[in-house]
Amino acid sequence: MTDAEVPVDDAAARSGPSRRLVLGTAGAVAGGLALAGGGFAAGRATAASASQADAYDFYGAHQSGIVTPQQDRLHFAAFDLTTDSKARVVSLLRRWSEAAARLMAGSELGSGAAGGAYAAPPDDTGEALGLPASGLTLTFGFGPGLFDSRFGLGSKRPDQLIDLPHFSGDTLDPQFTGGDLCIQACANDPQVAVHAIRNLSRLAFGDAAIRWAQLGFGRTSSTTRAQDTPRNFMGFKDGTANLRAEDTDLVDRWVWAEPGDGQEWMTGGSYLVARRIRILAEIWDRTSLQEQEATVGRTKGSGAPLSGGSEFTEPDFSLKGRDGEALIRPDSHVALAHPSAHGGAMMLRRGYNFTDGADSLGRLDAGLFFLAYVRDPREQFVPVQNALSSSDVMTVEYLRTTGSALFAVPRGLAPGSVLGSEGAYVGQELFA
């Protein structure tokens, strides 16, 4: 097949050279076949399909990384804007959008990691060379700080983007709290996720700086029916009752902002709650199995509700045992968090297990990095968290929330959008 016969996908053509292709070309270059910058044209077919097979589309009505089947690894970064120029913020979002499209396609940034000017630092830092797209998604969000006096956007702040209240028991560390912007990078290879955040933060120098960041090493939720339910750091299946991409009616009801929700620029977007929840693992691990199951409200093995059945059986909170008490304790996590206790309110959870090593006392600094997408945090997150913070034995006894942030996640970019220094960018409706 000649190149002239090939239909070129617009989005693909805007992307840079595939990381996979670059490595495949060494022999061809030596043979003098190189056409450009290290010979991307050679050695293509097999490597190309392997590289692209696990790539998600950057474009779409909604940003990727929300209902996308949840990947195994996370690098999350919250940024402070260090500029007070609205034009610079727009410029940053353009650079990020253009880079995100390339990164998600498994392509190198700019002139690549080894193909650029010899006297200049490479545009791409290179640690993802040879790695496929790895299901990378990049999801951008706006924190309350974007709407402060610096940028004149105050009138466009959505009512849903509240300053989260203090929840009973919160022990927030400023080092893991807040932020003007955020990027959630999820991938099936941690190196690909970290590479994305590293390169995006590099593009931000001067306009935004990382305020805090969190790595997650394993997902604690499923966002599609095809995925197994993973286990959290407490050893229990987590997210059994999570919203799934297939539940489109429920996703529309509980995840996506609709026209009429307030700020029209948020239509098709969502709100991201991020909470760094440390698990007091040593104490939890000394708790009897009976107490652990009673605390959660499910069995540790199969994840079935204590009222019986299997993992996906609906819990029956009215079923009582010999002593007349409910089999699922009213102060169990399942009972307090269940939609039936909150007018049916659901969240699309997308959390990750994390560990940042050990603290100075030799205890695991580990837990759950809770991420949840909701249409209105005031109705979906705050009431649930208030119930858990005050009554949930698990939250009160075994968890410490050390970080907290809320972001407005705007809609996605329409397929066919042209990116670049004058082009389309994530969140453009806010600045229109």
């Binding site: 070129v8 693909a12 190309a48 692209q52 996308t68 002139s111 006297a119 120098f205």
Partner: protein, 383 residues
Amino acid sequence: MPRPALAASGAVLAALALSACVPNATADDEAIAVDSSNDACDVATAEVPSGTVVFDVTNTGDDVTEFYLLASDGLRIISEVENIGPGITRQLVVQVPAGDYLTACKPGMTGDGIQAAFTVTDSGEDVTTGDNAEQLAAAGEQYLLYVRDQIQTLTTKTDAFLAAYTAGDDDEARALYADARVHWERIEPVAESFGDLDPMMDAREADLAEGESWTGWHRIEKNLWPPAEGYDLTDAEKQELADKLAADTAELASRVNAEDFAIDAFQVGNGAKELLDEVAAGKITGEEEIWSHTDLWDFQANVDGAAVAYGVLHDVVAQTDPDLVEELDSRFTELNEQLAQYGSIEEGFVLYTDLTEDQIVELARSVDALGEPLSRLTAAAVL
């Protein structure tokens, strides 16, 4: 809902590769493959339109090779890429106006090389950057004058500092310490280029390996700002340290004043970047002056030196990359304004230990904001 991109077959990528973005300077330009073997120099094409020309030079021979683009007289070098090891591919990016040229491979790095005619036709495109060689040479010379001037002042101020130190006037020595070091810090990459002098003059205690002897500025610093009782030196030990630093400073001065000592534009550009690296690695953390805490003097001096290096390249880069110039100008201003909140070299700075964590973070962010574009200065100047 996002779904896997199905469209991307291998063939699509093949087409993509032809239109792919390649290096910034060479976007939309196709590289010309050059095969430099033991006895041939195969250039894929002998005629190109004027503008940015990119050669991908692959050494298929057994010796180290070089590739030159020469003026038609075969003498004047338009641009070159050196030190290409066997099997390695290196890129040469050059702005070329219309005219007749020669290409040359030089396997073994000797002789006139294997030459061939190379024609650049008029593309109608403005080739504004053309030949900056004269401007770049002038930049190197200008910077060298600055280096010599700083080292002369360094010598004078070091002598005064050491006189106070050996006379036992510790208060006076402490007052002179940071101000003298400013002149070292401003030209630090040049001083560091003398690999034997730098460790003798500027090593920090933590830089030493087990059993190495410690001399130079920071040895005296620790004596003047002892961390605890019991760090006294005898007069003879002090005199020995002073004599050593004075001698090493004199040696540094004689080397940079040697007739054959030169600095090229490439070194100037990289020096600017390295000065900001110094700030980011040692000053912003308070590690450089761990006893005296006079890190902000060094910080300002590093920024001063970087600004001078940038200044001598400014006019060249203003032609090749005006956006970069605009960004660098504003980032230098921002950082200098921030530093000015904490004092000046003339009036003195607050100590590093007086800065709050927020102030340090703010400074670090401004250093990153300047350091990132500054890392592109060399390529913008010399390409």
